[in-house]
Amino acid sequence: MITRETIVNAVIALLLLAIPLVAMTLGEPFYVTLATRITILALAAVGLNIALGLGGLVSFGHAAFFGIGGYAAGILATHAFNAEPLFLGIEGTTSMPWIWLVAIAVCGLVALPIGAISLRTTGVYFIMITLAFAQMIYYFAISWPAYGGEDGLSLSVRNLFPFVSTAKPLPFFLICYGALMLAIILFLLLRGSRFGAALQTARQNETRLAAIGIAPFNIRLVAFVLSAMVTGLAGALFADLNRFASPSMFSWHMSGELIVLIILGGKGRLFGPLAGAMLYVLIEHVLGGITERWQLFLGLILLGVVLFARGGLLGLLAGKARHG
């Protein structure tokens, strides 16, 4: 059955695709970059939504994975550019698919111990311990001078993708768009799978899940790691978009922003992260054009959404979510 939400989702997906195409015909490549930014932020938030939306795990530290993805791209490209092997004779690379693989793998490997320790706690403790782990990595990044320290790491050129000229804005947007759509499909498949059912039960009623013989801890850990991997991929793309891996990608403001995207769009919705990212970048762009102090108004809007419009943008457009 086609619900109102499905129609809204389709419109949003097509709208995102239409913005850069129209912008290119009008000769305004800036809007392509803006759409790419929306796409990548949405991808990062789709990742977080696996943990937060499905599993109810309020990770306040996903900037860690976003940053690790970004630095994976930056470090590999720097080593390839300087023709220095990384370690154990492994060469750097400027090939996006390899960079993504490394970003995803490293995020998974880092998320495993972080998740294993953090998931021993619940509620506020979980929020704070994930925040603390992200801060730990942030401080490591700014105090480790080998890869730029506080100055970050510049990429001299955008990394390469087979048969696509990534330096042009539109092809790079399409790569990011493809990644986002794949991630949304992954989210949909996960949500409908047995694993997804177990994960959502872990959120709704942990005791019942345990009673039927499934350990909530393992389910949550897998979700946390998957979630980190998707966010890490977004980080790698983000570094390529800006040609810069910045330590601010690790900052706790970034973690907060990712949560904000999900809530602005509508918690627990398939397209919530994308709707939220569109709204967020729109607010940033429109208000940022009017006043330097746009964050003040962003704060007020956010406060309004949390206090009075709990369904977010999709709640407004597509009606209430079927389950809470």
Binding site: F140, W144, P145, I263, L302, V306
Partner: protein
């Protein structure tokens, strides 16, 4: 060997003095963190609220003190202003926003108070500009006192340690000996019941929130004289204060005190000792780099270790 024992004596004496100085620095940081963490943990314990905007109240205290001190020339008036401004800001925020969040889940609380940070930070940047303000140490507390084993220590930092100990003692007396403290404790254990007993729980919440805010403001004002007063100064402290209350056990004042001193000492001593220790086994430049990076991560590592064994902190409520 005995040619110049004086030089040898001199170096050990210097390093003892340095060690004592660093220990005192750690204690001073710990005491500062306690002022922040006490409010956070009290607000969480009584109202079940996680308040990210606590760092903004710290910043408000620092700005109020700097502005008042530069207008009147008196640090002490500035200190009073910081208490009043932070408490007032806390009370207003509680009545307008926070009150609506008590029944919400932690995610909503995180987001709403994150929004408050954006509002407060940009608001103060609008008001005071992006340039840092400076606050002088009051004349009475300038200078240094001699330390045992040679060396001297800044009097003002000692005074901060004194204030922190006094506040800890005051809070203990307030909570264990007064009627207000009795209500706070009752609110922690059963809020429906104390409302049913006819106690105005809403104004109790406002008072607790304003009290926590005043402590944060006091911390901001005191630290403002050591560093510069600027937008965003509250955020690093806020995150350290979170580490403190997570280590100590959220809701426990005793835990906040223990956690704060622990974090203050570990962080300061780590930064002091780690590069030196690594220098024994590594070349100097590498030791400095690795030691520095490790030291900045040290408290988070300690926190992870503590939580791995005691997931609800040292003094779980």
């Amino acid at each position: 060997m005995a040619a110049c024992p004086c030089a040898e004596y001199g170096t050990t004496a210097l390093s003892t003095a340095l060690l004592i100085e660093q220990l005192l620095n750690g204690l001073q940081l710990g005491v500062m963190l306690f002022l922040m963490a006490a409010g956070l943990t009290l607000i969480f314990g009584v109202m079940g609220l996680i308040n990210l905007a606590h760092g903004s109240l710290y910043m408000i205290g620092a700005f109020a003190c700097a502005v008042t001190a530069s207008a009147t020339g008196s640090f002490w008036l500035g200190l009073i202003a910081s208490l009043i401004a932070a408490a007032a800001a806390g009370a207003i925020v509680e009545v307008v926003v926070i009150r609506r969040l008590y029944d919400r889940d932690h995610l909503d609380q995180v987001l709403a108070t994150f929004a408050l940070i954006l509002i407060f930070s940009e608001g103060s940047r609008w008001f005071f500009g992006s340039f840092p303000l400076y606050l002088d140490i009051p004349a009475a507390l300038q200078g240094a006192v001699p330390l045992p084993g040679g060396g001297r220590y800044q009097l003002y930092r000692l005074a901060i340690i004194g204030v922190g100990i006094a506040v800890a003692l005051g809070l203990y007396l307030l909570i264990s000996r007064t009627r207000l403290g009795m209500r706070i404790r009752a609110g922690e254990s059963d809020r429906e019941m104390i409302a049913a007993l006819g106690i105005d729980i809403q104004s109790l919440y406002t008072i607790v929130f304003a009290l926590g805010a005043a402590l944060a403001g006091l911390a901001g004002a005191l630290v403002g004289a050591l560093q510069s007063v600027q937008v965003g100064m509250g955020e690093p402290v806020l995150i350290l204060a979170f580490v403190v209350i997570v280590i100590g056990g959220i809701g426990s004042i005793k835990g906040a005190l223990t956690g704060a001193i622990l974090v203050g000492l570990i962080d300061t001593m780590g930064r002091f000792l780690l590069p030196k220790t690594l220098a024994l086994i590594l070349p100097a430049s590498q030791a400095g780099m690795i030691g520095g990076a490790l030291a900045s991560m040290l408290i988070y590592i300690v926190m992870a270790l503590i939580l791995a064994f005691r997931p609800r902190g040292l003094f779980a409520a």
